[in-house]
């Protein structure tokens, strides 16, 4: 059996699949925490693509970008989770259907 070497396409495929799963999760899941996890998934899909590009183009720029994304994402998680906790305390729910007070 002959295995083709793993190339850029494969990484990008995986990245795309992960991104779509993340997006689907954001759209379909009702729980805010899970939606938040899906968002993180989308970010990491992007990270994967960047690292793959960096590796196959022999350039470190992509990896530098990934470090930044991870850092910012960590900060963002801290803020986001805090917001969700605060919201939960106030409304006793983390389901998006119940949180529609933004409309007119």
């Amino acid at each position: 059996m002959h295995l083709t070497p793993v190339g850029l396409e494969h990484y990008l495929m995986v990245s795309a699949v992960l991104f779509c799963l993340g997006a689907l999760g954001v759209i379909m899941r009702r729980n805010l925490i899970v939606m938040y996890m899906s968002l993180e998934l989308m970010l990491n899909a992007a990270n994967l693509a960047l690292v793959a590009f960096s590796r196959f183009n022999n350039s470190l720029n992509g990896q530098v970008m990934v470090f930044f994304i991870i850092t910012v994402a960590a900060a963002e998680v801290a803020v986001g989770l805090a917001l969700i906790v605060a919201l939960y305390r106030k409304r006793q729910t983390a389901h998006v259907e119940d949180l529609t007070s933004m409309k007119l």
């Binding site: 954001v26 759209i27 379909m28 009702r30 939606m35 998006v96 529609t100 409309k103 007119l104």
Partner: protein, 643 residues
């Protein structure tokens, strides 16, 4: 700056002295009536003296070479339109200058007595000075635009003075009526000016004249139309049919104002303007296509007939008026009709001659009427006067002189000028000659009706019984004005103005020759004129010498009622205006209701609201819907950018 001073620049003083007085009164001294009056009177007397000086200085020059112009100020220069503010001296403007300032000075002095009791004397004299300024501007203007500006200023000052007693509703209405009616005519005037400028490329009188001399065909097909439009201005200012309705109502102003503005000078401005631009009128009788039915009629024909018609109807109306000022007002209308007719019959000299003599004797008559009104404690109905010849001797004598002059009795000034007009009519149109003779007859009839009823017989009311002669300051102007009213026929005024229209230098003849000149020159006109006067006088004597009330209404019935009611012109106009107004307002209401409010306002707000309601449905507030729409949008964008 005085290096290039020319003697003719003195004329600027004439123009600006009254303005200076008006400004001083308006800004500083209005509260002090007496002082304002003295200021205004000294300004106008000074203007008169300077005018006399200018007249003597340039009389010979203009008599020979015809034109002197004071250094013009370059006022407006846009593209091809070049408008100067320049002062023009020729026989026409020199004569008019003397008439306006001379008569004006007399009336200013007279007003000092007449308005003594009025608490707004300052305002009165300020307005008079504004009027003098604007009138002199018309007289001296050397181009159409400048003339139009002063023309409007005259309209404004006339408005101010007619409405001087603005607490009286009738006066407030009269001044509005005068102003609006004048504006109607001025609308035609400015269209005419624009047409002249567009066709001939200049607004300067002298340039226009030169261009037309060089190339009379420059007119193209609009000559008759332009002439008629310019005449519209005169129609408003000189109160010619159909815009004559404002003048009788203008008698609501103080009597000296009626004398100065609505008898002697301002209403004559229309005739003056026609004479000033007489070179524009020619034998052109082609009208533009929409007015093709007028082909074959020149502008001058129209002017002559409108003038003649105005003279006739105004004289008829005057026969049945009872207000002393209104009789004189209709008489003014009628005489203005004479002048306009004379212009139309290619006799501007006769028109200006009559304008000059008329200014003297009509000012005299009005001031006399003012003196009568003053003496009778503001009674204006002639049937409540009577017997005034005993109590107001000077007023009576001067009024009689004015009447004789107006009726054209030789050797008073009116005889010569009226005879000129009749001769002009006899020469050109038999029909207009008959009409003019008829008017002459009517003039004598209504004037002597006034004289007999108001001055002779016994007093018919208590006010007339206690009448007294007016103070000296009012009587002296009457005496002074009586002199030219009597003698102006011998001064060669017609020869002097004739130079403006290419007349020859006739040698000065003796007084006796001049007296009989009309009979030698055009015996038909002179004899018929005299005959009309005699018939008019005898009829008036028969009816009114001993009358206690007016016998005519019984004899004439409906005709007399129509005359008294001014042939119902005011009512017809009122009905016409009301009908037009109704029509226009209904149309405007329809457009407003259905197009502006319906389609415009309600349409716009309805559409916005509908779209808003639809878009509101998309705002669910659900985070996931937004996220879905966002992703979907993104997919669409990617799809399109990759395709």
């Amino acid at each position: 700056m005085f290096d290039d001073f020319k003697p003719e620049d003195v004329v600027w003083i004439i123009l600006f002295l009254p303005l200076l007085a008006a400004a001083a009164i308006g800004l500083f001294t209005k509260r002090d009536g007496k002082f304002s009056a003295q200021l205004s009177i000294s300004a106008v007397v000074l203007t008169f003296l300077v005018s006399c000086g200018v007249f003597l200085m340039f009389k010979q020059t203009v008599f020979d070479t015809k034109l002197v112009t004071a250094t013009p100020l370059n006022w407006l220069h846009i593209g091809e339109l070049k408008v100067d503010i320049g002062l023009r001296l020729d026989p026409l403007s020199l004569l008019m200058l003397l008439v306006v300032t001379g008569v004006g000075a007399m009336i200013h002095i007279y007003s000092y007595g007449y308005m003594k009791e009025d608490r707004c004397m300052g305002r009165y004299f300020g307005s008079l000075s504004v009027f003098m300024f604007s009138m002199l501007g018309i007289v001296l203007a050397n181009n159409f635009v400048m003339m139009f500006i002063f023309w409007e200023l005259v309209g404004v000052s006339s408005y101010l003075l007619i409405g001087f007693w603005y607490e009286k509703p009738s006066a407030a209405d009269a001044c509005k009526k005068a102003f609006i009616t004048n504006r109607l005519g001025d609308f035609g005037f400015i269209l005419g000016i624009i047409l002249v400028w567009a066709t001939l490329g200049s607004v300067n009188f002298d340039e226009l004249q030169q261009r037309l001399l060089k190339a009379p065909e420059a007119w193209g097909g609009v000559a008759a139309l332009a002439g008629f439009l310019i005449f519209c201005g005169a129609m408003g200012k000189s109160a010619q049919f159909p815009l004559h309705v404002w003048l009788p109502d203008a008698m609501e102003g103080p009597t000296p104002v009626s004398a100065l503005i609505h008898a002697a000078t301002m209403v004559a401005a229309g005739v003056y303007m026609l004479c000033r631009v007489f070179f524009l009128f020619g034998a052109h009788s082609n009208w533009p296509a929409p007015l093709a039915f007028l082909n074959g009629v020149t502008a001058l024909d129209l002017i002559a007939w409108i003038g003649g018609f105005t003279a006739l109807i105004a004289a008829l109306m005057a026969v049945q008026q009872n207000d002393i000022k209104r009789i004189l007002a209709y008489s003014t209308l009628s005489q203005l009709g004479y002048m306009v007719m004379a212009v139309g019959l290619t006799g501007p000299t006769a028109a200006m001659y009559h304008l000059t003599t008329h200014a003297f004797f009509k000012a005299l008559l009005f001031l006399g009427a003012g003196s009568v009104i003053y003496g009778c404690h503001h009674e204006q109905d002639i049937w409540k006067m009577g017997g005034l010849n005993q109590k107001m001797k000077i007023t009576w004598l001067t009024f009689l002189i004015g009447t004789l002059a107006l009726c054209g009795v030789p050797p008073f000034s009116g005889f010569f000028s009226k005879d000129d007009i009749l001769a002009q009519a006899a020469q050109h149109s038999a029909l207009l000659f008959i009409l003019a003779t008829l008017v002459a007859f009517l003039t004598t009839f209504y004037m002597f009706r006034l004289v007999f009823v108001a001055f002779t017989g016994g007093a018919r009311s208590e006010a007339a019984g206690h009448a007294h002669e007016s103070p000296k300051v009012m009587v002296w102007p009457l005496v002074v004005l009586a002199v030219p009213s009597t003698l102006a026929g011998f001064w060669g005024i017609d020869r002097f103005i004739g130079r403006n229209f290419g007349g020859d230098h006739a040698a000065t003849t003796s007084w006796l020759d001049q007296l009989f000149a009309p009979f030698n020159h055009s015996p038909l006109a002179a004899l018929f004129g005299l005959l009309a006067t005699i018939v008019g006088f005898s009829l008036a004597y028969t009816f009114y010498a001993k009358a206690e009330n007016d016998p005519l209404p019984e004899k004439l019935g409906a005709l007399s009622r129509a005359m008294r009611n001014r042939f119902y012109f005011d009512e017809i106009y009122e009905w016409l205006i009301a009908a037009t107004h109704e029509l226009v307002s209904r149309l405007a209401e329809f457009v407003d209701r259905w197009f502006i409010a319906g389609l415009g306002v309600r349409g716009a707000h309805g559409t916005t609201e509908l779209i808003g309601r639809a878009l509101r449905l998309a705002q669910s507030g659900n985070l996931q819907t937004y996220a879905f729409l966002f992703v979907a949008g993104l997919v669409v964008v990617i799809w399109f950018s990759l395709k």
